[in-house]
Symmetry: C2
Subunit: 438 residues, 2 copies
């Protein structure tokens, strides 16, 4: 009757996760959760909606003005769908700052929303791993967080030929712009944003932009020199950079001692978009020529709890999005297999009794085997067709004849081989067969 | 400088999940996922935002008009945060209806949003298990879904003294109202809504409401009789109810044969709020006098795909919310333990070298032990205090002396006992100790 037909497509820039995609998402994040929990990180989560004020305060202007999903609720409260997790995290830590035992090690895997123009690696809804440690100073905690980011990639089979960790210290770059180049605060902000994009720009475009901002020839040249120096050279050339350079060197030193030296490189262009970083900042970058992009990003922030009137507490953290991570794995041929394992289908003869099928199915399920029963009265060859389409290889049959003999028929749909198995022997036989598949 | 202080409370009607609560949520849903996957159900998920039209079409009026979080996005699209999962599910199935192999067995655990007045068991954001089977008729598939709901509760240690499954068939009640009482369609709708609330009302209030709707004495009496009859009696008394009664009896029969008879009862008051149910409907009800409420609800629906112009496909499904489920577990003393297992802390002496600590920690982590390192330079007794507050019982120390002897100190913070262990013996010794804790 109704002529209105509703679209089957999901909302623009979002994804439907059909079972294959959902198994992939679950497997990826389960593996990562297991890993980060070994380092003492504990799971947390917050609500999808937060007060608009939470983002207005510290999230970058571009996000708040152009990308935030915000609206008034039915009670007139201005709310927003979270575009990043850090403000929620800071709010939760601030709320219990007095009772939480330090260091606070937390992780979460929220879905985040930004009004973007959908393109490769950039969607309106994505899932993001967030790992943070609060309440500890010094280079060892920084090294732990960086090591953890590297270990996640290693856990999926990646190695130093595939990615690099690009490390910088915000105070090195900021101090250079402020105290060496003596930029005013408006120039400083604009140049900082420009540096953040430098590695994606043609060098001549970058230099032209510096002139447009009003840098003179000398400033322009000094800035280009800055990007060509090693950490040790910078420290020698600019005494103003002594303190942050020394801190960063210590982090490098600790990481090397822990065995991660080959993955890490000083890259003074790394700024990170968020304004709240105050110390070390980093990105993990995909080195593959066809997927040159950042897959993890993070750093140290010191003042996030001030917003809530809580005492300052230093935090270090990073985020990693599911879309870019999946692209990384695919680019390097590291995508894990997400087929279902340990699965059989139980066919139905016209004379099969539901209770007999159920009893057999429950027995196998209790032993860890997935058992699907079609429950429809199609003929056996039709049932087998459906089972094959689902990628299930083994098909069990339990009819009147088998019941009276206390046996079961087991058919391998790939080879066509069929065997009659005594009921007592079914479980060990199935285990043996299913084990061989892995 | 800023005088604006942001609130640390989450948005009204939502929850922050600190690690204890998040471990609980994870554990509950992990256990349930593992169980439903054994029955062949596969995970899926959809986006948090959907087109407003998706809900306007089939979700109940009360929800759309009073409880939906809907707004216009920056591109002028009218969107809504999902208040239930079934419309997304139907959209996804409709989109791939031709290629999906039946029966389609899917489950998901979305967070859902409704603008409610927060009260016990009712929040604005909650997580809900959704289990559905599509594309199969007959009582066996219905029995499977109902059995699965029962098995979930059994899996947490619940038994038939704690809950019951209340089963009805929408066509029994609807046909009775339409063909026996001969209500017009407006009365029918109002009486159906009233029946849905009958079990929470005083009988006299219910009867008074029937009179107010315009039912005469005879209709009123017949309706009260209807609620007092068994399924077999109904079938005998009203030939109009023959078909749905027979279907429902078959479902009862199958469930009993499968061994679930003791959990199930015919309750003709069960209607379910959603208008899309067309066959069997059910709720699982907590029998505890202090928590008498529904914890699962679902049924069979036949026409959900029509909305999308796809061929009809029958579905059976249920939902279960995390808040009411947690209340059920707590009421019956079934709340599982969510303390972290297999965990040690690794202390830091002033002479400890980061790389030695890291090597030891990595070795233990690879063997499945959680290792926390404080990374701050507090004195050992202070470190121990923090570790104890976190509920960690075992504390390892590796200083210069231990390194030179190739040993480690292991302190049991509960008994105070400290032992020196040869490095080779540490892993077996720790395993032995940590095993005893479970």
């Amino acid at each position: 009757m109704s002529t209105l037909k509703i679209a089957v497509q999901p909302y623009k820039g979002t994804r439907d996760f059909y079972p294959d995609e959902m198994r992939f998402r679950k497997l990826i994040f389960q593996k990562i959760s297991d890993l980060v929990e070994k380092y003492g990180y504990e799971p947390y989560d917050g609500p999808m909606l937060e007060s608009f004020d939470l983002y207005a305060a510290k999230t970058g202007e571009e996000i708040v003005n152009e990308q935030l999903y915000s609206f008034e609720d039915r009670g007139g409260r201005k709310v927003a769908m979270r575009p990043e997790m850090t403000p929620t995290l800071a709010r939760m830590v601030a709320k219990k700052a007095k009772e939480l035992v330090r260091p606070i090690r937390w992780y979460s895997i929220p879905n985040l929303w930004r009004y973007e123009n959908p393109q490769k690696g950039r969607l309106r809804e994505h899932w993001q791993l967030n790992v943070d440690i609060f309440g500890v100073d010094g280079s060892a905690a920084e090294a732990e967080v960086l090591a953890l980011a590297i270990e996640i990639l290693k856990g999926f089979g990646a190695n130093a030929t595939m990615f690099e960790l690009r490390l910088n210290h915000r105070m090195i770059t900021d101090t250079f712009l402020h105290s060496v180049l003596k930029l005013d605060s408006s120039q400083l902000h604009t140049v900082a944003k420009l540096i953040d994009k430098k590695l994606k720009m043609d060098p001549s475009v970058f230099e032209k932009a510096l002139v447009d901002i009003g840098l003179n020839l000398e400033q322009n040249q000094k800035l280009l020199d800055f990007f060509s120096l090693s950490l040790a050279e910078l420290r020698g050339a600019f005494p103003e950079l002594e303190k942050p350079s020394q801190q960063l060197e210590q982090t490098f030193f600790t990481l090397s001692a822990m065995g991660y030296g080959e993955y890490v490189r000083f890259v003074p262009e790394i700024m990170r978009g968020f304004d709240y970083y105050t110390g070390m900042v980093f990105e993990i970058f995909d080195k593959h020529p066809e997927n040159r992009r950042s897959i993890f990003g993070g750093g140290r922030y010191d003042n996030l709890l001030d917003l809530f009137g809580a005492d300052s507490m230093s935090g270090i953290g990073f985020g990693m999005g599911d879309v870019t991570f999946a692209d990384f794995l695919q680019t390097h041929g590291l995508t894990p297999d997400v087929r279902r394992e340990n699965i059989v289908a139980l066919g139905i003869f016209p004379d099969s009794r539901t209770e007999d099928l159920w009893r057999l199915a429950q027995e196998l399920r209790e032993s860890g085997i997935i058992v699907e029963i079609p429950w429809d009265m199609k003929k056996i060859p039709k049932q087998i067709q459906s089972v094959e389409k689902k990628g299930i290889r083994y098909f069990l049959l339990l009819g009147e004849a088998e019941l009276s003999e206390n046996s079961v028929q087991l058919k391998d749909l790939q080879t066509g081989h069929q065997e009659k198995i005594n009921r007592d022997q079914l479980l060990p036989r199935l285990r043996e067969i299913l084990m061989q598949l892995h």
